[in-house]
Symmetry: C2
Subunit: 216 residues, 2 copies
């Protein structure tokens, strides 16, 4: 199989994805849905962050599309809290794509609110695929170490907002905050970087304010 | 582009990879190299674990192939400790494949020892690709949470040895060890699971013994 054939097919996959993503984005905008693509490594606290933000957006309708390879713990947790949530299991695929989101969105009958789309736990592939979002939220953590922006640049470069989670553990770690920030700002000059802890539930006000400003 | 064409091309990518992996594996075996494919999420402590093991294998020649999307901190760190290490930067690709390993291995002139191949930080894609290894070592961490085997089953299923890192942080977390172990054992009955801390440098003796038994 010649390599340019593979490149051509990959290009077709990206093009098809982006075309559908653009249609989904228009539909969200038409229905006054502000869509946030939530990305982060496995165990970064994506669901926990979404929950803390939703709790503080009590006057706004919130919806969640939960992406996982397998299992549906997070969707069940969200539903038990009264959040309108739907599960996508990719069965192996390492990122969400826009056709998957199109189908899930149709089932949630979205209107007037904020949609959190929790991507697969992966600091690499999700950043390459548009899925109809208005903004990308990256959840990074102090336990992953301060070199992450240097090693996984695309996710940091493309983020519109960066949440730095698990800050309650800072006293027990050797996290070099200056090195981390230098790496982030070399890639991304504008995204706010907000320190939080899902365990102590501190720091979320700024993230909530950022979202409220966007949906004004 | 018809979808079966995409499937056909993906199959060809896997087949080509596995064919090269099998050749590399034979070459490693012929040269008395025991190759370990080290997998884990971003920031799981893959390099730190490799370093702690190599320190305790002082009578065995150790080599490292370092996989990263970008940057070469870990290779420089390893080289500063006197370890023969070489960097692969995938420039975006989310896993190592066997042609990349073939090229890197040729540069290290490997003979009589242990080769650690540190894969890209990703709990999804690396588990799908053989890269010439004899065994797969999965580095999981208590900070990622106890639901990881349920959400990322393939990596846990395919591991020959599982290292559970960052155990020094257990007092500050809500990690449910029973739930984690139940998830691991539902997928994998045989891989030893070894609790360590790269920060306190505790727990590595069992992992070192496991490797010594394999290369006897």
């Amino acid at each position: 199989m010649p390599e340019n054939k593979e490149i051509e097919i990959m290009r077709s996959v990206y093009d098809k994805n982006d075309e559908v993503a653009s249609q989904i984005n228009s539909s969200f905008t038409r229905n006054k849905i502000f869509a946030i693509n939530v990305m982060g490594a496995p165990g970064a606290g994506k669901t926990s962050t979404i929950i803390e933000i939703i709790k503080r957006l009590e006057d706004v309708a919130s919806f969640v599309i939960e992406g996982d390879i397998e299992a549906d713990f997070d969707t069940k947790l969200l539903q038990s809290l009264g959040v309108k949530a739907i599960q996508i299991n990719t069965g192996g695929a390492c990122h969400l794509d826009s056709p998957l989101i199109g189908k899930a969105a149709a089932e949630l009958s979205l209107k007037n609110g904020v949609l959190f789309i929790e991507n697969i736990g992966n600091l690499v592939c999700p950043a390459e695929f548009q899925i109809g979002e208005h903004v990308k939220m990256l959840i990074s953590t102090v336990t992953e170490g301060s070199d992450k922006p240097y090693k996984y640049p695309l996710a940091f470069e493309k983020a519109d907002i960066i949440i730095l989670n698990k800050c309650d553990l800072l006293p027990y770690l050797d996290f070099d905050e200056n090195f981390f920030m230098k790496g982030v700002r070399a890639l991304n000059k504008t995204a706010p970087l907000i320190k939080v802890s899902c365990r102590t539930k501190e720091g979320f006000e700024e993230a909530v304010k950022w979202i409220r400003d966007k949906i004004k």
